[in-house]
């Protein structure tokens, strides 16, 4: 079985995995970082979004071996010393989550969204979050939270 090594949430990790192991399986089952979720088997729901080398990525779409040497950030790596990342804080303030299952992927996608669109309109936010399914919130408060985290005018 291949041995892989990568940096996850600023820590170097190594593991021996079957070649068919997905990155999300490596994160959840080998590293025990269960904040990254699996909601589908067709790369549609986005519950498994993490950051790989600074870009959001559905961790069910790549093999763990493909992430060899990568810098990975999961939802567990966002808050520093118990203080929420501004996007996490905005989700809490604006009730952008209910059951919490899509939330990690949604937050990771939203952070990447703001990197690319620092002052997004509602339309941009909705279009950009198209790859993340939420069954609880109706997206209303997620959009509100992302807009608040951007802090801009969204015009």
């Amino acid at each position: 079985m291949p041995t892989i090594s990568m940096t996850v949430n600023n820590k170097t990790v190594t593991g021996e995995v079957e070649a068919r192991t997905l990155l999300v399986q490596f994160i959840r089952e080998h590293l025990g970082l269960t904040g990254t979720h699996v909601g589908c088997d067709t790369s549609q729901c986005g519950a498994c979004v993490v950051h790989v080398n600074g870009r959001s990525l559905k961790s069910c779409t790549i093999l763990a071996v493909q992430a060899e040497g990568a810098e990975v950030t999961t939802i567990e790596g966002l808050a520093v010393d118990g203080e929420l990342h501004p996007m996490q804080a905005a989700f809490k303030e604006h009730h952008g989550l209910q059951c919490g299952f899509c939330t990690p992927g949604m937050v990771m996608s939203a952070i990447d969204l703001l990197k690319r669109h620092p002052d997004p309109s509602e339309e941009t936010i909705r279009a950009e979050l198209e790859g993340n399914l939420c069954r609880c919130t109706g997206y209303h408060n997620i959009v509100k939270a992302v807009k608040a985290a951007a802090g801009g005018t969204g015009s």
């Binding site: 089952e29 979720h37 088997d41 549609q44 939802i75 299952f101 936010i125 609880c136 109706g138 408060n141």
Partner: protein, 790 residues
């Protein structure tokens, strides 16, 4: 206390763990030595199982065990049960065909359980399952709802001749016929309520674990109602007695009804854990969820509304065929009957109503409850009829509703279909919604849209909802197998903080916050000093769990009752401490005070005294401050509201753009408006999904699920829905201690009718079946002659 009490938009206590990836869902749990279960499922909708050869699979790497039909029975483990067996109009009970955990002779739907492979890893279990050789003899399948009763339809179960599960009715047929006989106008509609797949984003999962030391079992499971799971797995499946089975339902990633039924996979995991001597874990992948979770809705209805010359509703008649799928899921027969038929009065004074529902079996996944469960289907029929009647008679859709609303002085209101509405005031709800939607300005907006080549429509839905099915004696009378009360335990700890144990399990509804608000409000304790515990049968006493928007009205009321018992006992303790008589002690804002004096003691000090009873009336009173309550409501609660949807349709593409959505709801007293608004957003979005996007489609010959993944089953995404305008009117529920009615399902109940009313209005079509996809809308536009000139 106002900032954290009832009515405050308190930010949620549970959010920190969810936002930091520290939520604990069933699949996040791993038990030492666990093995993995994979279910081999039928690829056929209907086939005889002629033989199963597992020899090659058993020799596959990592395989621990393989079980097939008959193995559970050999251990005395019974099949799945139906807990709501209704009695139909002929006095006959709904037909309940046997439903083994693993199919024995016949498979009845694509996804039916044929075998379970247990292996060291999930991949190994899947690999081995591919080596199982099943000899199927394919049989003709009965698929379409409308065709199930055809004389030549393939038979699903020998127990149900003609595929008829039940033939149920409610209302007075003769009186309704008489109303139609004197009608000035009759509006008729044939409606399909499309089958939906609930699709909580967390797939179902289960881990069964056997402890030989105590001869006891633990089941970790994605369940809305862990105690119900425990009693059914104990009393009916006979896996273990109740006191030897612990059911833990940790954080649940959405449920919407789909995690209420007891499923084969979870029973098998518990049973198999003892056989293999290791914890057995199963997690559905999404493809399995599509096949093996219960589905929702799936009605075919012929409905008529009789009106007099002034547009007053004289009578309503509906004949529905409700698809139960291949087996009766846990509470399935109650959904299209009692939870459907009782809602046909809507908000109106219609004096004669008759509803007939025929439940039918087909070779499809079982249908049970999904957000709204029966009530969206009823609302769709009523509000579509009302809208079309208004159009046909040339009456404004608002005016026709206004003429028929139940007046505020008529409550409690006895409908012609059993239900007694507790309270409501519907006109102010309608008025507020009209103002928020700027109905007065609609015609100008419509004309403006027309100038730019767009079709604009506005649709109404004045829904009625029924929450918290109750009381238990009524539940029993209509065939429900269990009670419908809820329990709560409010425990002061010696240092003054409070632990609350509730049976109302949460799957995203924010109970940890809303229930803490109730306690904070009632007992004057800071909200951060209140912890809510749920989802573990070893911690929480027997309880009924979450369904039917009952958590606030029933679970919350139980908590309020337990708080009141705390105060009552606290008064005795305080009277002793303050050297006063109990009658002079008042409780306010967290302190017991002697009326007319400055003598007072905080509830935290009273709690300490209760556990350190040095100065305490021990002769008359037990130590401790820990109270239980069981609350069995006197009636359902009946929230109501008005949703107004405005759409703009591009006739070139048929794409429906929702340009405005207004929801004004009367949920009674609102505990946390932020959470309640969130429930409305989510409910409406599921309703929009039903009306525009979602459809569970089977191949009509083979029964294959054609919408078996998110590639084909169109879930609402962020760019499919608008932002919503939500308002509240509060008429408190008169029969529970909090005045709350419930809010979880309302959006899904109201939304489809509002949307289809808007779309058909824009097009000028009399009807359009859901989901109103661009293709259907595009065709309807052309049929209505509204296509733009080429």
């Amino acid at each position: 206390m106002a900032e954290t009490g009832i009515g405050a938009a308190v930010r949620r206590k549970e959010d920190y763990r969810f936002l930091t990836g520290r939520g604990r869902y069933t699949d996040d749990i791993s038990r030492p030595g666990q093995v993995y279960a994979y279910f081999l499922r039928s690829p056929h909708a209907h086939a005889t199982l002629k033989g199963i050869n597992t020899d090659a699979a058993r020799n596959s790497p990592g395989v621990v065990a393989i079980y097939t039909g008959g193995d559970p029975e050999a251990d005395g483990v019974g099949g799945l049960i139906c807990g709501w067996v209704i009695t139909d109009k002929n006095g006959e009970k709904a037909k309940v065909p046997p439903r083994p955990l693993l199919a024995k002779d016949t498979v009845h739907y694509v996804g039916d359980h044929v075998a379970v492979v247990i292996a060291e890893t999930l991949a190994q279990a899947k690999d081995a399952a591919e080596l199982i050789d099943v000899d199927y003899e394919e049989l003709a399948a009965c698929i379409g709802t409308a065709k199930a009763l055809d004389p030549d339809a393939p038979r699903v179960h020998a127990e149900a001749p003609g595929n008829l599960c039940f033939d149920w009715e409610v209302g007075d047929e003769a009186a309704t016929d008489a109303a139609f006989a004197k009608a000035h106008h009759v509006t008729k509609l044939n409606l399909v309520n499309n089958r939906l797949i609930p699709n909580a984003i967390e797939p179902r999962a289960a881990i069964g674990e056997y402890d030989p030391g105590g001869d006891s079992f633990t089941l970790y499971v994605t369940s809305q109602n862990p105690h119900v799971a425990r009693i059914i797995i104990s009393a009916f499946h006979n896996v273990a007695p109740e006191h030897k089975l612990r059911v833990v339902a940790p954080d649940i990633g959405g449920a919407f009804g789909s995690k209420l039924p007891i499923y084969a996979e979870e029973v098998v995991c518990v049973w198999a854990s003892k056989k293999v001597g290791r914890p057995v874990k199963w997690t559905a992948d999404r493809s399995e969820s599509f096949l093996a979770d219960v589905h929702g809705r799936d009605h075919v209805t012929e409905a008529e509304l009789a009106l007099d010359e002034n547009g007053k509703f004289l009578g309503l008649r509906a004949h529905t065929i409700a698809n139960m799928g291949a087996y009766l899921s846990t509470i399935a027969p109650g959904i299209p009957t009692w939870l459907h038929g009782l809602l046909f009065a809507g908000q109106y004074t219609t004096s004669a109503i008759y509803v007939n529902v025929k439940g039918v079996f087909t070779h499809t996944s079982p249908v049970d409850l999904y957000r709204g469960a029966g009530r969206p289907e009823a609302t769709f029929v009523v509000e579509r009829l009302v809208e079309n009647a208004a159009r046909e008679m040339g009456i404004d859709p608002v005016e026709i509703r206004r003429r028929n609303l139940i007046p505020p002085d008529a409550f409690p209101y006895q409908t012609p279909v059993v239900a007694i509405y507790d309270s409501g005031d519907y006109a102010p709800v309608l008025d507020k919604a009209l103002e928020m939607a700027d109905y007065a300005g609609f015609e100008a907006r419509r004309q403006q849209a027309e100038h730019s080549g767009k079709l604009r429509g506005i649709g109404f839905s004045n829904y009625i909802e029924a929450c918290g099915l109750a009381p238990s004696k009524v539940a029993g009378a209509i065939g429900f197998a269990l009670g419908l009360w809820e329990s709560a335990q409010v425990r002061f700890n010696p240092t003054g903080n409070v632990t609350v144990f509730t049976g109302s399990h949460a799957q995203g509804q924010g109970h940890e916050t809303a229930f803490a608000q109730i306690v904070s409000d009632r007992l004057g304790v800071p909200i951060e000093n209140v912890e809510i515990v749920h989802g573990d049968t070893d911690k929480v006493q027997f309880s009924m769990g979450t369904s039917g928007s009952r958590s606030a009205a029933v679970g919350g009321s139980a908590i309020a009752k337990a708080c009141d018992k705390i105060i009552a006992k606290g008064k005795k303790i305080a009277a002793h401490a303050l050297e006063s008589s109990e009658g002079d002690v008042e409780f306010e804002a967290g302190a017991f005070k002697v009326a007319g004096t400055d003598k007072s003691v905080s509830i935290a000090d009273v709690a300490f005294t209760a556990y350190v009873p040095h100065n305490y009336p021990l002769e008359e009173l037990e130590p401790g401050l820990d109270e239980n309550a069981f609350y069995d409501p006197g009636n359902f609660t009946f929230p109501a509201g008005c949703h107004i949807c405005e759409v703009e349709i591009d006739p070139e593409t048929g794409v429906v753009d929702i340009v405005n959505w207004v929801a004004v709801d009367d949920f009674g007293k609102v505990i946390n408006p932020m959470i309640v608004e969130g429930q409305v957003h989510g409910g409406v979005t599921q309703g929009i999904g039903q009306a525009l996007l979602e459809d569970c489609v089977h191949d009509q010959d083979t029964g294959q699920l054609l919408t078996g993944s998110y590639m084909d089953y169109t879930m609402p995404r962020a760019d499919n829905v608008p932002s919503f305008k939500v308002g509240f009117i509060e008429t408190p529920c008169p029969h529970n201690p909090l005045g709350v009615k419930g809010c979880g399902e309302a959006g899904a109940i109201a939304a489809p009718a509002a949307l289809i009313n808007a779309v058909t209005g824009a097009i000028g079509a009399s009807h359009l079946d859901m989901p109103a996809t661009p293709e259907k809308v595009w065709r309807a536009i052309r049929e209505a002659g509204k296509a733009p000139a080429e």
